[in-house]
């Protein structure tokens, strides 16, 4: 599965069905988020079929951002079948994201 852009309507179904998911909470006005973009896209391709890699635009989906208590962006939330088990706040190197994904495949 390629990179998914989730909304309030699609979030629960997509994430609950995924044994492992990484969701990037971001926004268009945020430079550090733009920087994470290519990394998240690359991981979406590489983990295709193994993990759901998705993005949530916090500007469009303010309720989702509030539900996950996002207080800075980018924030990357890791979930197993919809339950959060880890998160990385701020710009995070690719290797650190890979570490969490690989340890939970």
């Amino acid at each position: 599965m390629a990179l998914q852009h989730l909304t309030e309507d699609t979030f629960d179904t997509a994430v609950n069905a995924a044994p492992l998911a990484m969701v990037d909470f971001w926004a268009t006005w945020c430079g550090p988020c733009k920087m994470m973009g290519p990394i998240v896209e690359k991981l979406a391709g590489e983990y295709d079929g193994k993990a759901l890699v998705a993005k949530v635009d916090t500007d469009e989906e303010a309720d989702l951002a509030e539900k996950f208590d996002i207080s800075t962006i980018p924030t990357l939330v890791f979930l197993k079948n919809g339950a959060e088990f880890d998160r990385k706040i701020g710009v995070t190197p690719e290797a650190a994201l890979r570490e969490v994904l690989d340890a939970n495949l």
């Binding site: 945020c30 290519p38 916090t58 951002a65 701020g90």
Partner: protein, 272 residues
């Protein structure tokens, strides 16, 4: 846009690095605060810069800047927040935008301030270094801006414009951030404010905040004789590598770092 080298910092070290990257035929972008916010700007007289005695800090800065412009360096005003590597590129975020390059020269001066109590603990939980990034998450909420530059005032105006209620602390000496799971209150020089977020806007971020994992020694960026840091493709020069905090030393290190960065870019191209 992609550049060969990005220089972070527009003081003597950064400008010297830029001139020397250009001398090796590579493109370079210098990201810095306005020249007037450089600490050297306020120096009444610099008497130990070889060959140019008695110049004011402002005159010297303008002269160095003109030289770098003449050499073909590009300039961009702003504060660098983070840098992250992907494959053979470095991505650097500046406010709401980003730039990328093959190599980076870190010449942002000394991050003078120590962290405040509660700052590291609540970073990302109600403490932010970027108003343009996180401001929107606090629309209609009370926030504090702890500002140490004129640019910080502009960021506070931006927060007001998007609907935040802003308490502004102008260059306080001490601050403490207090809260539970998230920051709830900030006390600066004895004055308190209950807020949902504290924006700490210093002229420059600490190297370890900009470059996660960069090695430091006694608070300064660790470099070798080629001004290479512990991160591949990242070089450092000037006050951020340690004393003496003098213009000549900064310009000399900038030269080495600029040449090393240009060589790094050339070596990368050869490997392809």
């Amino acid at each position: 846009m992609a550049h060969d080298v990005i220089v972070i910092g527009g003081g003597p070290a950064g400008l010297s690095a830029a001139v020397n990257v250009r001398a090796r035929g590579r493109s370079v972008l210098v990201v810095s605060n306005p020249l007037e916010e450089n600490p050297l700007w306020r120096a009444e007289k610099v008497d130990n810069y070889l060959g140019l005695p008695g110049m004011s800090g402002a005159e010297l800065l303008k002269t160095l800047r003109a030289h770098a412009e003449q050499a073909g360096a590009e300039f961009r005003e702003g504060r660098v927040l983070n840098a992250v590597a992907m494959e053979t590129d470095w991505f650097v975020s500046i406010g709401s935008d980003m730039e990328n390059a093959k190599a980076v020269v870190l010449a942002g001066g000394v991050a003078r301030a120590k962290k405040f109590p509660g700052e590291a603990e609540y970073l990302g939980k109600g403490v932010s270094y970027c108003a343009t990034c996180d401001g929107m998450l606090y629309r209609k909420k009370p926030v504090a801006v702890v500002g140490y530059s004129d640019s910080a005032k502009k960021e506070a105006e931006f927060l007001t414009s998007i609907g935040c209620t802003v308490t502004y602390f102008d260059r306080p000496k001490t601050c403490e951030i207090i809260g539970g799971a998230k920051a709830e209150r900030v006390v600066c020089d004895g004055q308190a404010a209950d807020v949902a977020c504290v924006f700490l806007l210093r002229p420059a971020l600490a190297p370890t905040d900009m470059f996660p994992g960069i090695e430091v020694e006694n608070g300064y960026v660790k470099v070798d004789r080629a001004m290479a840091t512990s991160l591949p493709g990242v070089f450092a020069a000037g006050d951020c590598t340690g004393g003496p905090l003098q213009v000549s030393k900064a310009a000399g290190e900038g030269l080495v770092a600029g040449q090393s960065a240009a060589k790094y870019v050339a070596d990368l191209a050869r490997k392809k």
